[in-house]
């Protein structure tokens, strides 16, 4: 028998029927993968027009949006795919937590997934900055200012990120390179590894053999692929609908010499960082912009080691063994959602 290829590796001849049901996984991992691929497919053509210089960035975005044939569609697809990716990625994380799928032996893959989500946030932020208009410029100013608050290494880190002491051409080209290369390549590798580890860790998280009476029913590869196909079509349907009827946002450009031409909108942070912007209203940047987000990441990263070390309850929704993990992550999610809504309405 020949060695299975990567596709066959991810799609074994049969998988357990219960865990293959849509209502168990909601297909969130696969959807995220599809959206990630959509981002690459739509992002590469954008690179042919986008010019990463302070003078030309906003102009080239306008060329893409208004002049280049189907530029508007590519940009809208790219934008909405990124929005949806953060949503499906986050929901995937919640699914993993609430169905106890982070437990040993999947603890390492939990870390890989978390890293992918964090890098996706950075990708989204760097993409947001590339618009180079008053809103994104405001977010960039605030964001890099937060970085500066890092104890000891803050200034060094800031200069590394900004490419000097002032936001300008060097900053833009650095964010551009991070966006199209520096972050994409690691994410690609991590996504591959993450998917590979699913099989290595024993396939999609499923109930222990002793928890099922008799042999659990299984479905063949063909059926799994069909289900995935339908989920993929559904995602593309949502993506195209959003892209056709709702345009990706744009704001007035920034004067390359004089700075912003207009006041940034009240909301300067991208939507996925609104919760941090909300915290910044009340607390100093070091606490709100660095320590709290780091704490959230730390809690999530250590979750399978600290909050729930048991293996019992894998693949069972809201199993009591994971009560603490569910409560803490639920509280974090609720906090982020509430802060985001509050800040959105400001």
């Amino acid at each position: 028998m020949s060695r299975p290829n990567f596709f066959e590796h991810l799609h074994p001849p049969t998988i357990p029927a219960r865990e293959a049901r849509f209502r168990y996984t909601f297909g969130l991992g696969g959807m995220s993968l599809l959206l990630f691929l959509s981002l690459i497919v739509t992002g590469v053509p954008l690179m042919f027009v986008y010019v990463p210089t302070a003078v030309s960035a906003a102009d080239s975005i306008r060329t893409i949006t208004y002049v280049a044939p189907y530029g508007w569609l590519l940009r809208n697809l790219h934008y909405w795919a990124a929005v949806l990716l953060l949503l499906t990625g986050s929901l995937h994380l919640l699914r993993i937590v609430f169905s106890g799928s982070y437990k040993k032996p999947r603890r390492f893959n939990w870390l890989l997934g978390l890293a992918i989500l964090l890098l996706s946030l950075l990708l989204s932020f760097s993409g947001y900055v590339l618009r180079w208009d008053v809103d994104t410029y405001g977010a960039l100013t605030v964001g890099t200012h937060i970085v500066r608050q890092f104890p000891v290494v803050g200034d060094w880190f800031y200069r590394l990120l900004v490419g000097g002491t002032e936001i300008g051409d060097a900053t833009l080209v650095r964010f551009y390179t991070w966006h199209i290369l520096g972050l994409v390549v690691p994410v690609l590798l991590l996504v591959g590894w993450h998917a590979f580890r699913v099989r290595r860790d024993g396939g999609i998280s499923h109930r222990a053999a002793n928890a099922t009476a008799g042999k659990a029913p299984r479905i063949p590869r063909r059926e799994l692929v069909q289900r995935e196909g339908i989920a993929a079509l559904a995602v593309l349907l949502v993506l195209f609908t959003l892209s056709l009827f709702w345009n990706a946002p744009l704001a007035p450009p920034v004067d390359p010499l004089a700075g912003p031409l207009a006041e940034p909108a009240q909301i300067a942070a991208p939507w996925f960082f609104l919760w941090i912007q909300a915290l910044l209203r009340y607390w100093p940047p070091l606490l709100a912009g660095i320590l709290i987000p780091l704490c959230v990441v730390g809690i999530l990263a250590l979750l399978p080691w600290v909050l729930d070390r048991q293996t019992e309850g894998t693949a069972v929704w809201f199993h009591p063994s994971g009560r603490w993990a569910q409560l803490v992550v639920g509280a974090i999610a609720a906090g982020i959602i509430i802060l985001t809504i509050v800040e959105w309405r400001q």
């Binding site: 906003a58 102009d59 306008r62 060329t63 949006t65 208004y66 002049v67 044939p69 189907y70 508007w72 569609l73 059926e223 069909q226 289900r227 196909g229 339908i230 079509l233 559904a234 593309l236 349907l237 195209f240 609908t241 892209s243 056709l244 345009n247 744009l250 704001a251 007035p252 450009p253 031409l261 207009a262």
Partner: protein, 441 residues
């Protein structure tokens, strides 16, 4: 078909519809019209939507200036809100709040007086912009200040180069506090509508812009746009006649502010004249006679046959760069400027310099021209009336607004019985008042 196949087929069809929708939307994308003005070298797409709009003036040609240089805005955005979000002064870049950015610059309208480029400074210091005369008179009349010299303007203004003996160094912004006499506060609240920064009353006869465009962009009495910009509604009042600057400013443009009625200081309110609009069956000439002045005014034939700008010069209207307490301080054009006196011909000047301001001004007006060798009326303040020329035997006036020709009668050699010391128009009105023939219905 299995359930999977059905679901796939349905989703596939829906997706196909969306793809067709995307094709349709691309088809509906506007055909981009790009312009790269020579002064900025930056492409602009404004004409994609505004194709057909009038060039603002021959001296600001669209190929040279484009749109963004004056208007600001996001010239590459084809989304209305985004494109217009950063425009200067909304639709009017000549509003005095933004005029320095849009019309200024030492190469344009905020240069040196010697180069004739101090337009913005002259306008900002002019009584039309400061409203200093009215403020000073009212503030004095009601005990807010001890003299009739102006101390306040609509906004604070300074002049560091005083050239006339009535010129003032500065005005403070007029913000009477609660300690000011009541009528002064009422005046401040209700009567500060007659200056270049005040928005026009949105009613027929009042429509106008602010800033430079208040005079130089002509508004019809009905405030309707009659130009070719497809985005400006033709049935929505409050737009200029066309998107054009002009020095051929008709009397009714001046009348959007002047001759609209009277301020009653007793009631501290504006009393609108009641004789407008006249009968719809009046001839254009009768309509003009009716509209031009208020019923109680005294005026001569030429004062309503000609347009205001045929006599009231640039220097009078836009000011001379000094801050004055009263418009009268810089009104110096009299009947004698063109008609002379019993003993004196009007002042004449023969143009010898090809860069003479008379030639420059004539180039800005479509209705008359001045060339080297022409002899034109000169004023005591050194201005010239290029549109009133001496041909060796006669003095001929060309209407700045309509190009009509008039022979200017001279007082010298006539049977006029004027006293040489009495040259103000009121004295001329004693004999030459024109009796209004159009009566009020």
């Amino acid at each position: 078909m299995s359930g999977y196949q059905k679901a796939t087929a349905v989703l596939g069809m829906l997706l196909l519809f969306l793809v067709i929708g995307a094709l349709a939307r691309q088809e509906r994308q506007p055909e981009v019209v790009q312009l790269t003005p020579t002064l900025t070298g930056q492409p602009e797409l404004c004409l994609t939507c505004h194709e057909g709009i009038e060039e603002i003036s021959p001296t600001h040609s669209i190929e040279t200036f484009g749109c963004v240089l004056c208007h600001g805005g996001d010239g590459l955005a084809l989304d209305k809100d985004l494109a217009h979000a950063t425009m200067r002064g909304g639709r009017n870049p000549s509003d005095l709040v933004v005029v320095e950015e849009s019309c200024g610059g030492s190469a344009c309208h905020s240069g040196a007086a010697a180069d004739g480029r101090d337009h913005i400074h002259r306008v900002l210091t002019s009584v039309q912009a400061t409203y200093a005369g009215a403020i000073a008179q009212v503030n004095y009349a009601f005990g807010g200040q001890a003299d009739t010299t102006a101390h306040f303007g609509v906004t604070a203004v300074e002049d560091d180069e005083i050239t006339t003996y009535t010129g003032l160094p500065a005005l403070a912004a007029f913000h009477p506090g609660p300690e000011a006499p009541d009528p002064v506060q009422t005046f401040n609240r209700d009567c500060m509508h007659c200056h270049l920064s005040a928005a026009a009353t949105q009613e027929p006869y009042y429509y106008r812009a602010t800033g430079c465009a208040a005079c130089h962009v002509v508004y019809e009495n009905d405030g309707l746009y009659r130009g070719g910009d497809p985005t400006t509604p033709k049935d929505e009042p409050g737009h200029g006649r066309t998107h054009q600057l002009t020095t051929a400013i008709p009397y009714y443009q001046c009348n959007h502010c002047h001759n609209r009625g009277n301020y009653s200081l007793r009631q501290m309110t504006f009393l609108e004249r009641e004789d407008l609009p006249g009968s719809p069956y009046l001839s254009a000439q009768d309509q003009r006679e009716l509209e031009y002045y208020q019923p109680i005014s005294q005026f001569t034939l030429c004062e309503w046959e000609l347009d205001c700008v045929d006599c009231h010069t640039n220097g009078e209207v836009m000011g001379n760069g000094d801050i004055h307490s009263n418009q009268q301080e810089i009104q110096y054009i009299q009947c004698r400027t063109c008609h002379g006196t019993l003993t004196e011909m009007p002042l004449l000047e023969t143009i010898t310099d090809p860069d003479h301001p008379a030639i420059y001004s004539a180039d800005l007006n479509p209705n008359y021209s001045v060339a080297v060798g022409d002899t034109v009326i000169a004023t005591t303040e050194g201005e010239t009336f290029g549109w009133v020329q001496w041909d060796g035997e006669r003095l001929v006036e060309t209407g700045k607004v309509d190009g009509r020709l008039y022979e200017v009668p001279l007082v010298m050699g006539s049977s006029c019985q004027q006293n040489p010391d009495e040259q103000e128009s009121a004295y001329c009105h004693e004999c030459h008042t024109y009796e209004r023939t159009v009566t009020q219905p």
